[in-house]
């Protein structure tokens, strides 16, 4: 009987074993692939992830723009069980209005955004309280460690991760990186245990700029200081290497903090005046008129004419500044004393058609194609109509509209022996493949190039001889003329002042003629006969009579600073 029971148990065990093995066979072999796939689906998860945005560096490697993680606070009102406790915590820790918090908590929604840019301390305090329904989120955001520095040049990145204005806007496609899939694995209990390296996701390219950190800083500092003394409406400083077109500094005032771009009420502040503001340059234009006339052999620096204080074009009289009469003067003296009638004389010797052709050669009717979003230029349609008066006034920089960057390009040609260069801000674009060993070589348009061709120097628009003659005339302006304040002992400095009246049209007033407002500027370079840098200082409506007392001292201080920092050897013993 006992043996029979044991036999039964044995049969039961065998049957149990067979069932278990059969079931295992069914699960693991027969339906194995199905359950394996099901398990994989539960263990793994995938999510799309944007590539990290590339960084932007000054020429010396200092970081101008990078990315970082930022915390934000949100609530899920449906999950909140203690609304009073949640309201108190949120309003006290995040320093928010209680009514606003209450409004958020009373919503019947699974997600209500509470605060952007929460600090580490705020997030930590909230986390410690462990209140159900309050969450701390994280997102990668653009950070500009230098604050307001070069803000209009760099632009900003909006909440949709789109670059706006400046370099961020221009290089959006190159900076943004490549989207990829992030693969994660969950362990027992659904805990996330690992992330594999994302497929195809790639960080965006880095930009190395031509901007010099120290010069940029000094330029902005000088503008801010001048604002206190001169109370100008806005100001711009551009410094370039005239031989290559590399922009060393591009400073504007007022500026903004790209980390907090949302706080700006006037959107105009985002515009870069160097490329987006058109103005009538005034007397700084005279050396260009002289260069064209000398190149065509119509005048020489020694050519004389007699100034009678006024020149009439049809019925319209053109006077000198302060209505002065200078008598017999050479063309060099015309620049030294900034005589309007002398510039008109040079233009008349040249002829309107040739003058127009030279203005085109100097690039005043086209964009410079600098790598900044939204560059504008004036077609100068009114000027091109062919009226003699327009050409006469354009000879001394009135009635013709240009941007500061166009003026810089034209003067670079005067300074460098006659070559028209392209002003540019990006020295190198470093792609991810560059880091992995492939030589770095793509230009500012994203095209592969060799580094040697990156300066984009084009043909001569005036001869080296003409260039040298105009440089001598401009040096004389600083040595003997109105530009004396630009003198730096030991160095020959070439330059020209300009004080232009602002037309009513430019102020959006439908009225002919000019207002009392002025644009005061100075363009100069040093050392004059082997220039290492060229600077334009432009101030809108400063509290000064002429550029000699406003833009010129700023030029002097910045030029002296660059000479000291770069340790440029002197031209002579002072």
């Amino acid at each position: 009987m006992k043996g029979y029971r044991i036999g039964l148990i044995l049969i039961f065990l065998i049957l149990l074993g067979t069932t278990v093995i059969g079931r295992l066979f069914y699960l693991q072999v027969w339906r194995g692939s199905y359950y394996r796939a099901l398990a994989r689906g539960q263990q793994k998860f995938f999510s799309a992830s944007a590539g990290e945005r590339g960084e932007i560096f000054f020429a010396g490697g200092q970081i101008l723009a990078t990315s970082s993680v930022r915390k934000f606070i949100y609530v899920s009102p449906r999950e909140i069980k203690e609304p009073d406790k949640a309201k108190k915590a949120l309003s006290q820790i995040l320093d928010l209005d209680e009514i606003l918090v209450e409004e958020k908590l009373s919503q019947d929604s699974p997600y209500e955004f509470v605060k952007n840019k929460a600090t580490e301390a705020e997030a930590e305090k909230l986390q410690r309280l462990q209140i159900a329904g309050i969450y701390i989120g994280e997102e990668r955001v653009r950070v500009f460690p230098q604050g307001t520095m070069a803000s209009q040049t760099i632009g900003f990145v909006d909440s949709e991760k789109q670059g706006q204005y400046g370099l961020e806007g221009f290089y959006q496609d190159i900076l943004k990186g490549k989207e990829g899939t992030l693969e994660g694995e969950k362990g027992a209990g659904g805990f996330l245990i690992s992330f594999s390296s994302p497929n195809e996701m790639e960080k965006g390219s880095d930009l190395i700029l031509t901007l010099d950190y120290q010069i940029q800083f000094e330029a902005e500092k000088l503008l801010a200081k001048a604002k206190e003394n001169l109370e100008f409406e806005s100001g711009t400083i551009i410094a370039v290497r005239p031989d290559s077109g590399e922009v060393l500094a591009l400073a504007s005032y007022p500026n903004f903090d790209p980390n907090n771009y949302g706080q700006e009420k006037d959107l105009e502040i985002f515009q870069n005046p160097a490329i987006q503001k058109i103005f009538e340059p005034g007397s700084v234009f005279k050396p260009l008129t002289m260069a064209a006339a000398i190149e065509e052999g119509k005048i020489t620096p020694q050519t004389t004419y007699v100034d009678e204080g006024v020149v009439r074009i049809g019925q319209t009289p053109i006077y000198n500044y302060d209505q002065r009469t200078w008598g017999e003067r050479t063309m060099t003296e015309v620049l030294e004393k900034s005589i309007n009638t002398g510039a008109v004389f040079a233009e008349q010797q040249l002829g309107s058609e040739l003058f127009l052709r030279y203005l085109e050669k100097f690039g005043f009717f086209a964009k410079t194609d600098i790598e900044l979003q939204g560059e504008v230029f004036s077609q100068n349609k009114e000027f091109k109509k062919g009226y003699e008066i327009n050409f006469a006034t354009a000879a001394f920089g009135q009635g013709i509209e240009i941007t500061p960057i166009q003026l810089i390009r034209a003067f670079s040609a005067l300074a460098n022996g006659g070559k028209l260069v392209s002003p540019h801000l990006v020295k190198k674009i470093i792609t991810r493949s560059d880091i992995s060993g492939v030589p770095p070589a793509i230009d500012r348009n994203g095209q592969k190039i060799s580094p040697a061709t990156s300066s984009e120097v084009t043909e001569n628009i005036i001869s080296p001889r003409t260039s040298s003659q105009v440089v001598s005339m401009m040096t004389s302006v600083v040595e003997n003329g109105f530009g004396k304040k630009a003198k730096i002992p030991g160095y020959f400095v070439a330059g020209k002042t300009g004080t232009a009246q602002v037309s009513w049209g430019a102020l959006d007033v439908t009225k002919p003629g000019y207002s009392d407002k002025t644009i005061q500027s100075f363009v100069g370079f040093a050392p004059a006969f082997n220039p290492k840098f060229l600077i334009l200082v432009k101030l809108d409506n400063p509290r000064a009579k002429t550029a000699e007392y406003s833009a010129l001292p700023i030029f002097h201080d910045l030029a002296k600073y660059i000479i000291d920092v770069w340790q440029i050897p002197p031209d002579y013993q002072p």
């Binding site: 006992k2 043996g3 044995l10 805990f191 950190y213 800083f217």
Partner: protein, 109 residues
């Protein structure tokens, strides 16, 4: 030699011992397997927790490092450095007047 012939002839002694043993061993194996499974599960959960904890720490340290780097960048900007230098009340070299020596030659007695 014990042979298990099934289903009818059970050798009395050997069958008695063999069946009991099989039953005991079978049950022991099942219990052992249950314990092994529980232990293994416990290990996996514990290791997962530890792994997750370490991964969180690593992520937090990376974020902290990034935050400190950015703070360092902000602190070391020329703007901040200049502000700090100003607080040192240093004088520009050209503002300093030096004591003039009476002559260029020195005579010893």
């Amino acid at each position: 030699m014990n042979t298990l012939t099934f289903p009818l002839s059970f050798p009395r002694i050997s069958l008695k011992i063999s069946a009991g043993m099989i039953l005991s061993v079978g049950l022991a194996a099942i219990v052992l397997m249950i314990f092994a499974w529980l232990w293994q599960n416990n290990q996996v959960v514990a290791q997962t927790y530890q792994f997750q904890h370490l991964q969180n720490r690593s992520t937090n340290l990376k974020k902290e490092n990034e935050r400190l780097e950015i703070n360092g960048l902000k602190e070391n900007t020329l703007f901040n450095l200049e502000k700090q230098v100003q607080s040192l009340n240093l004088e520009k070299v050209e503002m300093v007047s030096f004591i003039q020596s009476p002559g260029t030659t020195v005579v010893t007695r």
